[in-house]
């Protein structure tokens, strides 16, 4: 029987990694990811998890070790945040291009400067184009469930891609939540062993990461993009199977009172929980407002997004990152691009807020919706609205 326990989300993520029997964990501690890898180091030291824990000297090395481990066919996990993710940057692209299914949780945190250890999505958005499958989770249960799902998704021989799970620093990582843990035997049955078709193996040598000259680089990159796009089929399949096995269903775009709503709010990550309560309140007051939550970020769920917003007149998107000098927040500009070619589409209004750990409360979301409606009706010359900025 599955157990429901009160546990810190970071520790729960470590427990999920134990449940899937990870072989190699290479990590460097950084706030607010620290508790995840601390717990895993403990599990390995206490022989509760039979894995190699490599305490590397930097995140660049962490991801490099993960690449090597996944290349030989080891089930591999790491976690990082903010500056650590930035330091890994170049190796992220190698992991995805070499089809190495590392699973990584990112405890989302603002990038320096100024130094800020609190949550936002600037670290995540900076690695948007790294070729990883990426998703945002909104609570501890989702984090645990999706760590389990991610190994099955990434290691599927039709996919063979690394998976990044974004969970908000502190707002998720340091919360104590009631989380249902599946039984080890159930997880064993759900996540099959990792058997890559072309591992590093002296008996059958392969060369990974060789030169790709101009004559083939274009073909290689197109094949990579097709592969990432097509991974969506497997992602949906795994979520469906997970739902059948454990009773909790996940989808690329989650909806909350969004059917038929004229005004939609869109959020990612832990803010979705607050936004949901705010929408409940507005609904109770008779306002025609719904919420959509973008869970799957890469591959981008174009069909699901278009379907979710098809009846709306106004779509208000909250970004927790700035695209400096660009066309509004990165999520907002992608949403607008995804809808641009449609004949019937909502007016999309972009807010940037919740930066560097600044909270947006329930009343904050009500205010954002009211302001978004006003901007949609009267127009604005600004690329985006900076929510809550003191002027």
């Amino acid at each position: 029987m599955a157990k429901r326990v009160g546990i810190e989300v970071s520790v729960a993520v470590g427990e999920a990694v134990k449940l899937v029997n990870a072989d190699v964990i290479a990590a460097y501690p950084i706030t607010p990811q620290t508790h995840i890898v601390e717990h895993l180091a403990e599990l390995v030291a206490d022989a509760e998890l039979d894995a190699e824990f490599v305490p590397v000297e930097s995140e660049h090395s962490a991801m490099s070790v993960c690449c090597g481990a996944a290349a030989v066919g080891a089930r591999t996990f790491t976690a990082t945040a903010s500056q650590g993710l930035a330091l890994m940057h170049e190796v992220l692209f190698i992991a995805s291009a070499m089809r190495l299914p590392v699973v990584m949780t990112v405890a989302n945190r603002a990038l320096s400067a100024p130094i800020n250890i609190w949550g936002d999505h600037s670290d995540a958005m900076a690695v948007r184009d790294s070729g990883w499958i990426q998703m945002f989770v909104e609570n501890g249960q989702e984090a645990v469930d999706n760590v389990i799902c991610s190994f099955r998704m990434g290691e599927d021989n039709r996919v063979l891609l690394p998976v990044m799970i974004h969970l908000d620093g502190f707002a998720l990582t340091h919360m104590i939540e009631p989380i249902i843990f599946p039984e080890k035997s159930e997880v064993d049955a759900f996540v099959p062993p990792f058997n890559p078709p072309l591992p590093l193996n002296p008996a059958k040598p392969v060369t990974m990461g060789a030169l790709g000259p101009p004559s083939i680089y274009t073909e290689v990159k197109y094949a990579q993009d097709v592969n990432l796009r097509e991974s969506k089929k497997v992602i949906l399949e795994v979520w469906k199977e997970f739902g059948k096995a454990f009773g909790r269903y996940y989808s690329p775009v989650e909806k909350h009172y969004s059917e038929g709503a004229r005004v939609l709010l869109m959020t990612m990550g832990s803010f979705s929980e607050t936004a949901m309560v705010a929408v409940d309140k507005m609904r109770a007051e008779g306002k025609d407002v719904g919420l959509i939550k973008l869970r799957l970020w890469r591959p981008f769920p174009f069909e699901e997004l278009r379907e979710a917003v098809k009846d709306a007149d106004i779509l208000i998107v909250l970004d927790r990152a700035i695209s400096f000098g660009g066309p509004g927040g990165p999520v907002f500009s992608e949403i607008r691009a995804a809808l641009y070619g449609l004949d019937k589409k909502p007016k999309v209004v972009g807010f940037v807020g919740g930066l560097g750990g600044r909270d947006i409360s329930m009343s904050g979301f009500e205010e954002m919706v009211a302001k978004g409606i006003e901007i949609a009706r009267t127009g604005s010359t600004k690329e985006y609205e900076m929510f809550g900025v003191r002027e």
Partner: protein
Amino acid sequence: MARKAAKTVKKEEELTWKDIELGCFITEPGSATRFRTGDWRSRRPIFDRSKCNPKCALCVTYCPEGCIVKDTEGYPQADLYFCKGCGICAEECRRQAITMEEEQ
């Protein structure tokens, strides 16, 4: 090359994106020997046998490409299919027996 095994008939420039092996891996060991990389060279080493005494083979040791080997008489010779023309052999030769000549 990083092509799928079943499709080796195609030349590199003819490979489509579907022909690319998983992760652009190379699955055939030693396939690099088929690629004559010496055509990058702009200079070639010329060996003067009269100065090559006592056939010390320092050039063989220093060649970063491993393309200098001794012939049947023990004199070093560069395999020009692979020599990149870096000139390290000429620099290291104690007898100045090697000179670098511009390729035409």
